[in-house]
Each structure stands twice: as structure tokens, then as C-alpha cells.
Amino acid sequence: MSSPGATPAWIPRKRRTAELGLLLLAIAIGIGSYAAVGLGIDGTVPAGIYTVGAVYAVVALGAHVAVRRFAGYADPVLLPVVVALNGIGLTMIYRIDLGLEANGSGFGPFAQGQLRWTILGVLMFVAVLALIRDHRRLQQYTYTFGLGAIVLLVLPILPVIGNAKRGAQIWIQLGPFSFQPAEAAKIALAIFFAGYLVAKRDALALAGRRVLGVDLPRGRDLGPILLGWLVSVGILVFQRDLGSSLLFFGLFVVMLYVATERPGWLVVGGLLFAAGAWFGYAAFGHVRDRFDAWLDPWADPDKNYQIITALYGLAHGGLLGRGWGQGSPEMTPFGFSDFILSSIGEELGLTGLMAVLVAYGLIVERGLRIALTCRDAFGKLLAVGLSVSFALQVFVVAGGVMRLIPLTGLTAPFLAAGGSSIIMNWIIVALLLRISDQTRRPAPEVSTISGDDQTQVVKLS
């Protein structure tokens, strides 16, 4: 840890062993909860405990090895937190599978698919770390990602592969696989915004006129990004994917604010959002329904059955929860996906739900920390964008399930059943780790200044 006074830069420790320790704890949480579900429902440990447990441990440790190999200086907290959340999500989905089966419901099982998606997600995680050795390379493809995001968003509207589920046209179907492109578009859009804003930030911040106390940039500077955002949100609105359009809008405003360092953008964004929400309420019946259901779900208990049962589930969980396998989360429609947070609250209680929320908070604040310490503007912006969109997503979905805000329909990252969400969130974590690795890696000058011994010490610790 100690370095001679000559060393100019802060040299972080790698902390890979600490990561491994936390990771083992996270794996224990996942496998332990899996065993607890079996005990809670059948009174015995599930038969698949060894195989499923081994698969999960191998997958998680594989991710750890990849981090050691490809991003040795990366943040040590993110991976264990994600593995813990993913394990809890898998267990809860498995538990609801059993509940749905006992009910004779035609749904499920989802857990096996979720495990497969998790494996695929971790493979993508490893691939991102292995292939993108420097995140700044992404900056070269700024417009490609922008275009890619829009193409992705248009896909569900196209015939044949487009697929409407539950009133939202946000899925594409390719043979047996269905995919929600908005999740991928989120990452592409964050890269596009970051790359574009880095290139134009001076122009955006300095050139332009002052209108009503806000410095507006020139149209040609703001135009492309505004267009990109408008198209995205427009498509989503017509696909009735309120959650994603809200998320993209927030992402856009926040990144603009961070790039230009002008709080005025937040004000403008807030006003635009209010106007958009009002327009949505006035123009779209489904927006009005969501809003009314938020104000008083009991006014129409049949229509708002989902949110009401979710609230009953949370209340039934109380402080300590019913325990794994001992509540009735399968009663809540989509308690394994959109409403998995209420399932967590029911079986793990307020304590467990708060732990999950804090784990999400840890991911966000670690991500923002990576942004703070990142030395290049692109990486900084990208880390902020990914972290804040993650935070917004959690806020929107958790707030919706708990009736803090109207329900808009987003997935709880790493918990909810759904392949696109799992894969894309693993990619987000990989990108954050990549930026973090770049940030914390000692600058080449440092190693030349300090002697070989010094470097050696740094590597060992």
C-alpha cells in the first residue's frame, strides 16, 4: 500500500481476493436460498441442489476468472453483488414455478430458462471484457450505435418478427426465442449519447443563445441527439412501453446535464417530462388507467388485481417475511417477472426487500464512483449513463410495484425472469468493470517512474 513520495498518482489495489471472498458469500446466498425453498415447500433440500449449485458456482467463478484475466484492476464489489442478486432472482423464479405448478397454472417453468439466460449473460460478460480491452474504442462507433439503437427499437413493429405481448409491442420473435430489443437499445443509446456529447460538449455548453435564463445550444449541435432521442421515445410510446420511454428520456437529460454541467437541462427535462406526462394522460387511455390505478387501486379491484395482490403480498411479508417457499407470491400475476420485487418482499420481508434495494443502490453508487474516477470524458459519461439508467430502472419498477409511482412496466435487473434483461444487464456490468479497470489501472508513466519492485508490490497486494 505504501508508496514512495515520488509516486505521483494514486495506485489502487486490485482487490481480486476480496472480490473472490465476497463472491463466495454471494454464491452461498444463491445456493442457500435454493436449499431453503426446497425446505420451505417440500421439507427437503431440492434434488438438483448439487448440479444447479455447481453450475451456478462455476458460472460465477468463471466470471471472476475472466475479471482476473481481462480486467485485473476492476472494481471488486460489483460482480459479487450482481451474483447475489442473480442468485436470489433465480431462486425466486424457481420457487414461483413450484407455486404455479401446485396451482395447476399453465405458466412456467421459468427457472431453467432463466438459468440458461444467466449462463449466456455471463458468457456475454466475459466476451465484452475479452473483446473490448479499452472502452474508448466504442467511441469510434458512436453513430453506428445510435443507428443500431433505432433499428433495434423499430424491430418489434416490423411484421413477422414483431410480437405483441400484454398490450405492448416490444418483443421480437425469432423461432423459439423472443427478445426485448429495448434492453439492448438502452446500452447502444448510452454509448451513442456519450460519444456524441463528448464530441460536441464544448459547442453544446458554450455556443448558443440564452432563452429564459437557460443557455440553449445551437440547433445543429443539439439536433442529431434530439432526433435520436425523439425517435426512440416516439417508437416506445407507440409500442406502449412507457417504462422504457421514461428511462430513455431520463438517460438523455441526465447525460446532457453531466456533459454540459448545466443544471438548467434538468429543469428543462423536468418541464418536458411534466408536459409529456400530461399529454400522455390526456391522449392515451392506457396511461390514464395506470395513473388511476396508482391513485386508488381499490376503485376497480378487478382491473387492478395485480397491483392489489402485490401490495397484499408485501404487507403479508411484513418485517421478516414468510420465509422462502412459505408465502404465496404465485398469486400475483407475473410475480416471477415484472412483480418479482413484491415476491421478494413477501417471502424475505421488509428486511430482504431493503437488502435487495441496497444491493441495487450499491451497484449504482459503485458505477457513479467509477464515473468520478474515470479520466476520460467518454468513459465518464458512459459510466454515468449506465449507472443512472440502472438507478432509474430500479426506481421505476420498484416504485411501481410498491405504489410509490404509477406502474410503467420495467424489469427488475438481475431478478426478473427474462433473457434480454439478464443478458443486457450483465453486459452493462461488464462495461462498468471495463471502465473501472481502465480507471484504476496504474498509468504507464507510473510504472516507469517507480522501480520494478514497487510494481511488483502493487501487483501482489
Binding site: 441526465v254 397484499y312 404465496s328 449504482v364 449507472s387 420498484a398 416504485g399 410498491m402
Partner: protein
Amino acid sequence: MNKPVRAMAIVCLLMFLALLLNANVVQFVQADDLNAKEGNRRVIDEQFSRERGAIIVDGEPIAQSVPVKDKWQFQRKYTDPKLYAPVTGYFSYIYGREGIEQSYNDILSGSDDRLFVNRVIDVISNDQPQGGSVELTLDPAAQKAAFDGLADLGEKTRGAVVALNPQNGDILAMVSQPTYNPNALASHDLDKVTTAMRRLENDENQPLINRGTQTTLPPGSTFKAVTAAAGIEDLGLKADDDVRGGATLGFPGIDYKLTNQGGSDCGGNPITFERALEVSCNVSFGWMAGKVGQDKLAEQATKFGFGSRPLDDLSSAASRFTADPDAELEAPQLAQSGIGQYEVAATPLQMAMVAGTVANDGVLMKPRVVRTVRAPNLSILEQPEPQELERAMSASDARELNDMMVAVVDDGTGSPAAIPGVKVGGKTGTAESAPDRPPYAWFISFAPADDPQVAVAVLVESAQNTSDIGGGRLGGPIARSVMEAVLR
């Protein structure tokens, strides 16, 4: 760009704080309200899945939860279901709860605050929460005697029997006929439950009603015990004093005469107070009600418990002296009220309380049906002490009336209730409701008169086996067998 990043970190922190706060609001602050919402199937399911405590009579469970292999794990079972249904009530997934199952639900389900420590232990040891038990004051022999007595009157009989211990208020028997089988409503086969409930609800004889506490009907001549109490207390009458007799009681300026049943003249005019009670002379008590006055008579009724619902544990109706307490009765109405007609209406429980109070030297004890409430580990949570509700009469006046009621059984209309070797007091009643339907038969009694162990009220609304209904003839033997069961 670090300043806005820090700002976003704070914004995100605030968002997560809002979520954490919101989770606390829903899962802690609002949890009780949400759990209490109607139609919250989770709570119903959970209570169904618990090992609910037993309802116990004389050491034997009459309602208990037995393990079964379905998703609820426990099935509520009632032994002698029809016998005890008016008290136990039912525990149904669809139709909720009734009776003790309802009033002691917190204890039986284990959610009572006093069981908090047990619940914490259950959580730690990963045991299923268990409910506490409720032991009733019922005497199985008396309950059986009352049930059989009503059943012997025929299948379509509607009636009720309430017996209590005058000295401590313990309810010894509470039977209602027709009755129902709570097992049918507690079944886990929900279709069968719905069918059973529909049949019970459509039954014109209303088997779900606990006639012992919920049905108020004119008590007829049994109310003369109240009028007599007022006569003794307020007019200073003694058993040997002369009172108005004869065949009719007229009212100046009003074209109505109060007559006796069967048009008899009660054996002369005047007759002694005691004789008037023995033969249940309407003229005498109509006259007495006028002498006492509406206010004093209503006050005496109130002292016996009219106008209140003293039994907290079961849903019950208040008995009444007048429909509107402020209304001024005209002379004939007051006279009719004095013989338990006009707007006077009482539950069998109320009339058992009247008999019990006379027997207990004028002290009205609070009726109760629960003796002890225990936690799952059998430690006692609640053991109500006998509670004095009211001194309805002075002790000496009560003894005067007590002797007169013994005379009713020894020498008067109450003779069917006589038990050899035991001093029994009683009063018959035959109440008219509508001209087109048979009158109600009432009988109240107590024994032994000098050390009262049991007071009984019998109501027979309608009986299949007889067209000629009379309180003494129908109710007397039932009361006698209940008293014998207690005294044996």
C-alpha cells in the same frame, strides 16, 4: 464533469432512500390495514394453513384443527357439530367466521398480541405458528339435555334453550333449533361449502341464527316475573297481599278489556299476589303494571338487563321493553307490556338472566361463555372473574319473589318443571304474536331455589308435534331435564 456526477450520485441516493422509505410504509405502516382488507386471500389462506387452537368444553375439544394433506394443511373439525354450532359458530374459507371462531379469532389463529413471544419463538425455531385455545363454560350434560329436549319436539321445531349459573354468570347450555353442521362450511371442498351455505341461507327456518341470543320475541307471561319484581320493589307488595283479580281489566274511556287466557277469572277478585303468579293472572299483572307506572317498570326491566347486550362473546340482540324508549304508553299498552306483550321482546338469554337474578338474591351477573383462554403452551392468558352487572332487587325482595316462583312450580302452571326433592322456581309464558300463527311457548326456571346452581330459559317458537302450545307443557320438561343434568 465531476460536479454533475456527484450531483447525480446524490439524486440516485435520494431515489433509493425514497424506495426504502416506501418499502417501510407498505410493509410496516400500512401492513395491518392491507392485511385486514376484505378479499385479501393471502391472509385467509394463511389463517387456514395454521394450526388453529381448539375450542374446548369440559376438557374435550369440540372444535379443532387436524392435519390434512392439501395446500391448507389443516382442516377444522367439529365434534358434535350440531350440538355446539350456536356457540362455536363456523370457520369457513368463503364465508368467514361466526360465533367463538369469530370473537376469539385472534387467539385461535395465534395472531393475538399476547402470543407475540410465541410467534417470535416459532419464527426462530421455524415452527408453524400455533393458535391458543378457548375453554367454554358449557356443561356438556346440560347442553345435551337441552338439545334432546328441543329435538324431541320434532324436526321442524324452532326454539332455543339457554341455561346459566346464576352465581357467576357461566352459560351452561346454549342450544338453538334448527341448527346446522359447521363442518359443512369449514370443508376444503369450496363447491360443497357454497352449496351448503346456499341451502342454509334459503332455509325458511333460519338454522344459522343463534336463537338463544339473537332472536327477540314477546316473552309473554315469563315477563310477569319482572312486573312482579317491580311490584315488590316499588309498591312494597308481599306474597300474601291482595291484588286485583277477576276476568277482565277495563280502562276508563277506552273500549278495550284485558282478559285472561281462556277467559278464566283467576279464582276471584281480589286474589293474593302469590296466587296471581301461580295461575299467571293477566288481569293482576296488567293492573300492577299500571300501578307501578311505565317509568318504574321500564327501569326494573333495564336492571334485569333489557336494552343492553351483556354477552360480548357471541353476536346477540338487545331485549327491549318498548320499541321507542321515549314513547309514552297508553294505559292498555302499559297493561299489555306488564304481561310481556305489546312491544316487549326478549331473547332466551335475557329471560334466563331474569330467572337467574331472582334466584341469586337480586344480583345480575354478567353472562359469559368463555372460562379460560390459553396460549399454545397452555399458560393462561385470560380467565375472567365473575362480574356483577347490577343489583336488580334488594336481597329480601328477591327472596320474596323467589318463594313465589317456587310456588308457581309447586302449586301452579309451572308444575311440569318440578324435580322431586329439589326446590325449583319457575314461570311459564305463552306469548301471542300474530293472530294467524300459534303463540310462542316460554318457560323460565331456576334450581335449587335456596342455593341456585342453574337458571334456564326455554323458548319454543313453533313445534311440529303440537298445535296446542303452552309454555309449561312444552318448556317445563325441557327446563327440568336441563336442571337435572346440572344438578346431577
